[in-house]
């Protein structure tokens, strides 16, 4: 069984990461009734005996003594991390897994990346090494951060760089929260574009998330509940997420996604889909590694044995605009590849039937007409009887990037706020121009693919063999 390490950077990254750990614990608690530390748990948690100060060797079998998350929490101001350490999850994190400072990054990418990066480099490397040593077979790093701020964006991408240098064979999955149009941080376009360059070059896979989409989804759930449409069939548990306050709810959604992604690595199924397979199948060209994710169902119904029609509805929903975690409509753009990971009592025939049904309405690139990757995991998630995660490599991310570029250019043309960045050691004008050209190249690559959409299909001629 493989292990994964989560690195949460910045305020957003830590808040969101917290919800992930909460969900992971609940899920394993639901499945693991006997309290035995098994392989599934070991993918994200260590089992230690805290009496020896957590430094003792990990306990591999037998009962759970104390679970410690395989995580690193980084923030340049103390507020959020302190809150976590005083909350219900305080026992899951070790004080040795934290790196904090006092003054924050002032929403400045350069401060996060160049200043703090340089300052904390040794510390971060050492802690990463320690966490890696505790792993039998480390497969993947999950980085959670936001793009608009200073720490998550700057220091987060610095850590990404570091991971590539120190652990080149381990996959780097990044969950990035992109700023929305009405973001209150003025310099967020600068921060985002500078961070994008790093993501382009050093990440294996990026799952972009937009706050706007999350708000929409939460609102929809609220509406459903309030309008009484579902009535008494909506189970109480599912409302746990929404009653915890909208800020928290919003953040839980991506963690459901991450949970499902790793579920195949942790639980058994008839068609296992591992993290390295996701990277292999969904990334046809090295730079086009931005995956649009969507998750269904968003709420649960009381029926346990969901009849086929509901199941089919779940598949249809996954492709609708409302369920995507970024503001995009994949149905009208070009698919490069698509992965479906299903949890619960779903069989291969259901999967195939739905793929057949949905295929005609989706546009796939000419050389990947049947580009579907599927995975089946028999263990359902907490509170639902089935769930489906759809990951698509789709050109619908292009508008998001174009908008980002536009907002950047508006500020850059006037040279607004540039001096804050340029007076940091190591930061020059060329950093900005390189970053924007990297983003432009990416947009161009997506454009080229879009141009092939709907055109006449000319297959390249095959090799001829002399008879």
């Amino acid at each position: 069984m493989t292990q994964s390490v989560v690195v949460q950077v910045g305020q957003c990254g830590n808040q969101v990461g917290c919800r992930f750990w909460d969900l992971a614990l609940r899920e394993h608690a639901a499945v693991n009734k006997k309290g035995i530390y098994d392989e599934a748990l070991s993918s994200f948690f260590r089992n230690v005996d805290t009496r020896s100060g957590g430094d003792g060797p990990d306990i591999y079998k037998g009962k759970i003594c104390s679970l410690k998350a395989r995580a690193l929490l980084i923030d340049m101001e103390e507020g959020v991390v302190n809150e976590i350490l005083q909350g219900p999850l305080r026992d899951v994190f070790d004080s040795k897994q934290l790196i904090t400072d006092v003054s924050g990054s002032g929403n400045n990418w350069a401060v996060g990346h160049k200043l703090y990066g340089y300052q904390y480099r040794e510390n971060i490397v050492e802690k990463l090494r320690k966490t890696a040593e505790h792993c039998d077979c480390l497969q993947c790093f999950f980085i959670i951060h936001s793009m608009g701020g200073g720490t998550g964006s700057g220091l987060g991408t610095f850590v990404l760089n570091l991971l590539e240098d120190e652990f080149p064979e381990v996959y780097r999955f990044v969950t990035s929260v992109y700023p929305s149009g009405e973001d209150d941080v003025i310099t967020s376009p600068y921060n985002s574009v500078l961070a994008m360059k790093e993501l382009n070059e050093h990440a294996d896979c990026v799952l972009p998330i937009e706050n706007e989409s999350l708000f929409d989804i939460v609102n929809k759930i609220h509406q459903m509940i309030n309008s009484g449409k579902l009535g008494s069939t909506v189970k109480q548990n599912s409302l746990v997420t929404s009653s915890a306050g909208s800020a928290k709810t919003v953040q839980e959604k991506p963690f459901d996604a991450m949970n499902i992604l790793t579920s195949s690595a942790r639980f058994e199924g008839s068609l296992n889909m591992d993290l390295n397979e996701i990277s292999m199948n969904l990334v046809p060209f090295p730079r086009l590694h931005y995956l649009v994710s969507s998750l269904t169902p968003l709420y649960t119904l009381a029926d346990v044995n969901v009849p086929s029609r509901r199941l089919d509805q779940m598949f249809s929903d996954a492709f609708s605009r409302d369920h995507q975690l970024i503001q995009a409509d994949p149905k009208h753009s070009l698919y490069l590849a698509c992965a479906l990971l299903v949890r619960g009592n779903v069989q291969v025939s259901d999967l195939r039937r739905n793929i057949e049904r949905l295929k005609p309405s989706l546009h796939f690139v000419s050389w990947n007409q049947e580009g579907w990757k599927t995975g089946l995991c028999s263990v359902p998630p907490v509170g639902h009887s089935h769930s489906l995660l759809a990951l698509a490599n789709n050109t619908c991310v292009k508008p998001t990037f174009i908008e980002l570029k536009d907002r950047f250019m508006k500020l850059y043309k006037k040279k607004a706020h540039l001096h804050h960045y340029l007076h940091i050691d190591g930061m020059e004008q060329s950093c900005f121009s390189e970053a924007i050209s990297s983003l432009s190249d990416l947009i161009e690559e997506y454009n080229e693919l879009d141009a092939t959409k709907g055109g006449p299909r000319t297959d390249p001629s095959r090799l001829k063999i002399a008879v």
Binding site: M1, L271, N272, E277, F285, S349, G371, K464
Partner: protein
């Protein structure tokens, strides 16, 4: 003589388990149609082929299980042991932690050389347990990373280590609308490599089996377990003991060798397909009656019209009349969809075998011009019922499809960086494409 099975990857292990289950179930089943002596000698022949006796009463399967991640193997081992009828040897398995990530290059260039010694040791041990080794039967899928990549490497290693043994590769052709996006690349690379090391490739297509499950077996929610059981059933009916034409008194001693001899007359044509009649759910069996002439007629038409199951056969297709002036180089004059065979083997299981007339299979118009129907057609029989089936060598269309799609993807260079990361370069791809185009052209010119 014994067969050592090598199960590679998730698919290979899941199917392998079902095969041993099916074989074991057949042996223990009651067949009142045969005499006790008949039953006993069948029992013994089957046991020797697939199982070895150990101190514990339960027979131990002659198999090596290999996978690059642990979940499937541990599941397979425990399910087998729980059945109480048979089990795997606890030491005959090898697994790693990370899997191959659906990457052929990872399986072939990284895992292969790294673990070659350990795996070959396990195989050697199983081979030594056999009194006489007939050969190896490997079960893999083509779409994934371990079964396909590592499978190709292991087959090559088997060929190097056991140059005189027969190697039969069972490959699972993935669903046309993907399970894995890079399955066409993986399939092309696998096939081209296996073609060089294996003696024959026995192919099962997921699409076909799925249809059989849906239409013939009436299963509503088809799971991979159902698909695997159908495949296992078909495989079992190939491998269970039969009398060959020559050895009329005892069960054939060299199953793999006989198979190769009858079905692979020319090394260019190694791909084998399987057709099984009748195929139906267990509970309907009691209500059905069959007669040999009916079954034979259906089977022959299935063969000619290239139908894979007994529903929806196109009865319009007829073989061309001999003696008409059809120049042999023009295949367009032949009626469309007519399936020319290279060799056919019919295996009949059940009662009243002496009454079976297989003359319709000896019709020379079914076969290519360069083979005498006497050589091209064979029949094996046994009075013990399992199911009747037949094999021929023709799988042109799916192969053509897969190569076409893979070429399309290759032309846009998609996903190539994932393979070059592990050492498979563009030239390797081109070599594989060339090899397979050669095979396609050979089959087309029949």
């Amino acid at each position: 003589m014994s067969i050592v099975t090598v199960q590679l990857g998730q698919c290979g292990n899941q199917i392998g388990r079902e095969v041993f289950n099916a074989v074991c179930g057949d042996v223990h089943g009651t067949h009142g149609l045969c005499s006790k002596k008949e039953n006993d000698s069948y029992h013994d022949a089957c046991k020797e082929r697939f199982f070895s006796e150990e101190e514990s009463e339960v027979p131990v399967a002659r198999a090596v299980l290999v996978d690059m991640e642990p979940k499937v193997i541990s599941q397979t081992l425990s399910i087998a042991a729980r059945s109480g009828y048979w089990k795997y040897d606890d030491r005959s398995h090898f697994c790693q932690k990370q899997g191959s990530g659906n990457n052929w290059a990872n399986g072939y260039s990284v895992h292969g050389p790294r673990h070659k010694e350990v795996i070959m040791n396990l195989v050697q041990k199983e081979a030594e347990k056999c009194d006489r080794l007939s050969g190896f039967f490997t079960i893999t899928s083509m779409a994934g990373g371990t079964g396909s990549g590592l499978g190709a490497f292991v087959t090559q290693s088997l060929r190097d280590a056991f140059p005189t043994s027969f190697i039969l590769n069972h490959v699972i052709w993935p669903y046309g609308t993907g399970e894995v996006i890079v399955q066409n690349y993986n399939s092309v690379l696998t096939l081209s490599h296996l073609y060089q090391s294996a003696d024959a490739l026995l192919v099962h297509e997921n699409d076909v089996i799925h249809k059989i499950c849906a239409q013939l077996m009436n299963i509503k929610q088809i799971s991979f377990r159902d698909v695997n059981q159908v495949i296992a059933h078909q495989l079992g009916s190939v491998f269970q003991p039969t009398y060959t034409a020559e050895g009329g008194l005892h069960y054939s001693r060299n199953p793999l060798g006989d198979l190769m001899e009858t079905l692979v007359p020319h090394p260019e044509f190694k791909m084998l397909g399987l057709r099984n009649i009748p195929q139906m759910p267990e509970n309907s069996l009691a209500y059905s009656t069959f007669s040999w002439p009916g079954l034979i007629k259906h089977l022959r038409q299935m063969l000619i019209a290239n139908a894979k199951m007994e529903e929806g056969i196109d009865w319009q297709v007829r073989p061309p009349r001999l003696g008409s002036s059809i120049p042999s180089s023009h295949s367009t004059n032949k009626p469309l969809y007519f399936n020319t065979s290279i060799a056919n083997l019919v295996i009949l299981r059940g009662k009243d075998l002496h009454s079976v007339d297989l003359g319709s299979f000896r019709d020379p118009s079914l076969y290519t011009s360069w083979l005498n129907p006497q050589d091209a057609f064979n029949a094996w029989k046994t009075p013990r019922a399992f199911n009747k089936y037949e094999k021929s060598a023709s799988l042109l269309k799916p192969l053509d499809n897969v190569v076409g799609k893979a070429w399309n993807m290759f032309a846009s260079k998609a996903y190539i960086h994932q393979y070059t990361k592990f050492g498979i370069e563009e030239e390797d791809f081109l070599d594989s494409f060339t090899a397979l185009e050669q095979v396609i052209s050979s089959y087309t010119s029949l």
